[in-house]
């Protein structure tokens, strides 16, 4: 505790006091080493995807791609129904983002811009819902989806609709919780002005409020997208026999073989699956921070 305290103390003063250049260099050097360690698994993933299969099977340890080849990537993209899996993953993730954000935004409006009796109770319920171990619900959801499939085939087992439905529900509590902050930050004066100009409640919500909280919507959508994109458990449980409706996380596992994993293909698939998430993150990073700042300021 003593050590931690001292460190925190110094941290609290940082940036306001000039330090000896030598010591500062040492800290930066330590930082760079740590950066290298954190980045290493991702780096190794990329260069392993670019190595020839023979090199990987010989246990090649050169820390840089001595001979770059797209062999493994081609094996994943051409040999398998990769584009199909990618499309499936994208359909699920993007549908979840749209549906979850839509429901969450309306709910956040109700919970922040209106005062009504059970409001606090609802908020606590949402907080609790956020912590339900959804993985434990696999069994009842499996039966539920199977039964719904008898009525609405698109939402049943082996259909992407089942994945969209469960992830929309699972991402909702956090999305409501986050959007609540953004919506609450919008001053009531704007609402009053819109009302005086004759805007109906619905017009105000969609034409005025929604554009204002757009940065927050983006921030929320990142979390929903990632949750749906990364899902492995439900994809494995719901898509049992229809291989053409598999999503990427489950598809990648097919390269794990009892008689020797095709590491080149696994790494190539992993790179292809990680890139969309990273792009998404980088694209919205700016909006993400400005959105967060907006939420905190309120």
């Amino acid at each position: 505790m003593h050590l931690l305290g001292q460190r925190l103390l110094r941290a609290g003063n940082s940036g306001r006091r000039r330090r000896l250049p030598g010591r500062r260099f040492g800290v930066d050097l330590a930082g760079l080493v740590i950066i290298a360690v954190i980045a290493f698994p991702l780096y190794w993933m990329v260069i392993s995807a670019l190595k020839p299969r023979t090199a990987i099977e010989a246990g090649d340890t050169t820390p840089y791609p001595a001979k770059v080849t797209l062999e493994s990537i081609r094996r994943v993209v051409v040999g398998d129904a990769f584009w199909l899996y990618l499309a499936n993953s994208l359909i699920v993730a993007l549908s979840v983002v749209v549906l979850s954000t839509f429901c969450a935004f309306l709910a956040a409006v109700a919970l922040t811009r209106y005062r009504f009796g059970s409001r606090t109770k609802l908020l606590i319920m949402i907080l609790v819902a956020q912590m339900v171990p959804v993985e434990a619900l696999t069994i009842p959801l499996f039966f539920l989806v199977r039964n719904i499939g008898g009525v609405v085939p698109g939402l049943g087992l082996n259909h992407l609709g089942s994945l969209i439905a469960v992830h929309t529900a699972f991402t909702l509590p956090l999305a409501i919780w986050m959007l609540r902050g953004f919506v609450a930050a919008v001053p009531t004066e704007i609402e009053e002005a819109a009302r005086l100009d004759g805007a109906s409640s619905l017009t105000f919500v969609w034409r005025v409020l929604f554009p204002i909280v757009a940065p927050g919507v983006v921030a929320v959508s990142v979390f929903s997208f990632i949750a749906a994109w990364n899902d492995f458990l439900f994809a494995m449980t719901f898509i049992i026999s229809a291989t053409e409706r598999q999503t990427l996380p489950v598809a990648i596992l097919r390269f794990f073989q009892p008689d020797g994993n095709d590491w080149g293909a696994i790494m190539a698939g992993s790179v292809l699956m990680t890139i969309p998430v990273l792009i998404f993150f980088v694209l919205v990073q700016r909006r993400l921070t400005s959105g967060m700042a907006g939420a905190v300021k309120g």
């Binding site: 931690l4 950066i35 209106y114 039966f143 439905a165 492995f232």
Partner: protein, 319 residues
């Protein structure tokens, strides 16, 4: 989040009347809540009810296909579970593994947040970007890379260890022994979850006014005293949130264990509650027993959540 503007006196009864109409709208908020309620009701609340219900039935393959009728067995599944030494082993695995992950994540996250405050801006930006990358990496691909790095024969780690003269690591399997396997999975989990702690604690530290620390110093407080009486209390809300969040996340880990230990390790030595429930239901076809395990996990997390809510309430946070 308090809106100070609403306290300002207003002119014109017009506006006042509008405000009250707005605030007391009985019907409108419920209309806006309908879509969320429908989705959550069908896909979250009803399954929870079903989970509890199924856990009280003898629900196996014959019942799934409809060959045999459902048989209500009350607490039988729970009795079977609590009498099974395997269950207690899995429960203790879950707790120890979660504690390992939580402590590791907090330690690394806090240490790097402190380090980040002392770094040159461009190094700090690099640290945050790289951490963002680890954070965004899907659990499946993250597990795959870590498995590859620690592969007995082709993995980089063993080859480097052999290269520096530790011949014992030639062909060494990191996932064969129970705690070494848990350790490897925990390392992967820490790698992809510390950024959340780091970002939150960093924001907390930068929000502490320097004047506060200096004032305490001028009053003659020792370093330890300043840390204990000023800094730790200021960071407490952030630390509480990241601790509870980490506990909740790490009790629920499924993908990493499932992939890195091939579904629970040698002879099920690496099972945690989530994976155990899944295996009981979908591999052994005992859906009733699997649901009972799910109920135990849910109650465990509910207890943690209630503690969290209690702390939030006590620290005076308004919902």
């Amino acid at each position: 989040m308090s809106r100070s503007t609403s306290a300002r006196p207003r002119s014109g009864g017009d506006r006042l009347r509008l405000r009250t109409a707005l605030r007391t709208g009985r019907f409108e908020p419920w209309l806006y809540l309908v879509p969320a309620f429908v989705v959550l009701g069908v896909m979250l609340v009803y399954p929870i009810y079903q989970l509890v219900l199924v856990s009280m039935y003898d629900y196996g393959q014959p019942q799934v296909t409809g060959a045999e009728p459902l048989r209500f067995v009350g607490a039988d599944n729970y009795r079977r579970l609590f009498e099974d030494p395997r269950f207690w082993e899995v429960l203790s695995n879950t707790v120890i593994f979660a504690v390992l992950c939580v402590c590791g994540t907090l330690l690394v996250g806090i240490a790097l947040a402190v380090l980040a405050t002392r770094l040159r801006p461009w190094v700090r930006t690099a640290l945050f970007l790289v951490s963002l990358g680890a954070w965004a990496t899907p659990a499946v691909t993250g597990s795959a890379v870590w498995l590859f790095l620690f592969d007995p024969t082709l993995g980089l780690v063993n080859q480097v260890l052999v290269g520096i003269g530790l011949d014992g690591f030639a062909g060494h399997s990191w996932t064969y022994e129970k705690w070494s396997a848990f350790g490897l999975v925990a390392a992967q989990v820490i790698w992809c979850s510390f950024p959340f702690v780091m970002v939150a604690v960093y924001a907390g530290i930068t929000a502490i006014p320097a004047e506060l620390v200096e004032a305490a110093r001028l009053d003659g407080a020792s370093t330890l005293r300043v840390a204990w009486s000023v800094l730790i209390p200021m960071l407490r809300p952030v630390l509480t949130i990241v601790t509870i969040q980490s506990i909740i996340w790490d009790f629920k880990i499924f993908t990493q264990i499932y992939i890195m230990t091939s579904g629970g390790g040698v002879d099920g030595q690496n099972l945690v509650l989530n994976v155990y429930a899944y295996q009981q239901a979908f591999a052994a076809n005992s859906y009733g027993l699997g649901s009972a395990i799910g109920v135990v996990l849910t109650l465990l997390l509910l207890a943690i959540t209630l503690v969290y809510l209690h702390i939030r309430r006590r620290s005076g946070e308004v919902l």
